[in-house]
Symmetry: C2
Amino acid sequence: MFEFRKIAFALSVASALPLAACGGGGPGDIVLAQMGSYHVGGRAVTIEGKPVREVRFTPGGVPARVDPNGTFLVEHAYAQWFEPRIVRGAAPLLMMHGGGLTGVTYETTPDGREGWLNFFLRRGWTVHNADAVERGRAGWAQFPDIFRGEPIFLAQHDAYERFRIGGGPGTFARKEVLPGSQFPVEAYDAFVRQIVPRWTTTDEPILAAYIAMLDRSCPCVVLAHSQAGQFAFRAAEARPDKVRAIVVVEPAGFGDPARAAALKGIPVLAVYGDFIEQDARWPAIKGNGLRYYDALRAAGGSVEVIDLPRVGIAGNSHMVMMDRNSDAVAGKIQDWLAARGLWR
Amino acid sequence: MFEFRKIAFALSVASALPLAACGGGGPGDIVLAQMGSYHVGGRAVTIEGKPVREVRFTPGGVPARVDPNGTFLVEHAYAQWFEPRIVRGAAPLLMMHGGGLTGVTYETTPDGREGWLNFFLRRGWTVHNADAVERGRAGWAQFPDIFRGEPIFLAQHDAYERFRIGGGPGTFARKEVLPGSQFPVEAYDAFVRQIVPRWTTTDEPILAAYIAMLDRSCPCVVLAHSQAGQFAFRAAEARPDKVRAIVVVEPAGFGDPARAAALKGIPVLAVYGDFIEQDARWPAIKGNGLRYYDALRAAGGSVEVIDLPRVGIAGNSHMVMMDRNSDAVAGKIQDWLAARGLWR
């Protein structure tokens, strides 16, 4: 353990040094060999028997016949990827956002700082930043024809009260912030604008598209937030050879304990923020996680849990990657990956 | 005219040379000083009187109370921006996608080549690549509560037949491609996956958010495709001091001829692809454009129209930026901007 701490400390210092990432580019530059995007996965669905409509797409434009029947391509995911000139990660880092969110989660923070996408890119990770099925640039499908159920829209106050920024119901209206909160509360509305409609019936197509993403773009290190915990673990159960490590940040869902053996070769890091004990829901969600990690360990797997307050990083909300100390938390993840030989 | 051609030719050669964009980065690298994203514009809307639901977001998770009432932040737009280390554009290039699409339009082409985002970034343009209100990472709002009407979903065959890839209705099923088409038809499905649901009732909020984007991020050169033609011209009518030039690629909508004088200081380039005369709708759409450009000229404005087939670039579909010769068309735009002193 002492040995490990020394290594981790050395790497921590190394990762904090100015980065000469460019083949000669200045300090502070992000030097990319390539960047691009793609859609992956999904299926074709045929709809029949609906009336044809005439649609004028643009005022003064020419009407077009739009047939709601036919074959539709649906339930694909999207990712944007960046490959630095000097690659230091042993595999691409695949970022999966949480529920009601998109890859914007990892971009600029609500208060305008660089997010985790840039953090890991600047350290030489190839990054694939996903939009899950139904979210963002992945698009969404007809309901109830294709998606079952109705979408959920979150009001302005919802995340504030549920993501441990305020301390629960009523705190948004009362402008109460948890004491010591690291969330940039003055920019809260900028975070709310990142929230998109979501369904609760699309877990299977989301998982299927993420598995297709693993097949296309991996082996990867998977970094998953909140809802995406389940997708990271379940996709790894389906494709253990495509996942080099899993980092879950406040996961809300998990894999199947009965399939834990499939993950025994995949190191797992789970990161939790602050104020969990006093929240109405998070003690139970975290408890689900701790039981699942025990199942992974019992099957021969390796799981490290970082409770941020216990390592001196206090005040984190559920949106750890947006909190003012987001770089400090990313540094812990970076150090953990480096200590596992996944970064050189 | 001879003078202009000589200048354009010289610039064309210059823009085709290998780019030493990096402060020492290798040829082929994209060297960025910064990259990030933001949401902008929109409004708060209050919904009342709907029943509260209990939602289990994740299987096995802890139910949460979701109140569909409350205040919602809606009708904002999103943009991702990239600033090269060496900026050569006189102003950022703001890319507006067409209807039913997102900023993915300008990213990797369906067949995996670099799109116009990379093209202009590699030439030293700061680029803001937008997702309009309702599309992609901008998110969308409750309907009919906030958005009027219902969304439209496009079937797999629709764009093929309407965007001059095939020659009209029935051509997708018959696998007919327009002779000489430059669209990468083998990758057509990858393009279909880029299409997202759209409304036809959201022009005003889209415009309002684009005006907010001009206020936030411009003066800019605005590059607009298809549906976004109207947003480029109408946003410029509202903020003529925020728009240095407008490039419209197959615009489907336009500004108000009565407000043409507001745009007289803004040079306009309009680019059209091939197969227009034989299409059912495009002769009328283009005719609308030509009449509008005449109004701009009559008010003292400057408009250049490039009919690609007339300058030796044949076979373009409506999705010019995805066609196999997309770089050649981008080169024409680049040369036009450079000839107007907007690129050094």
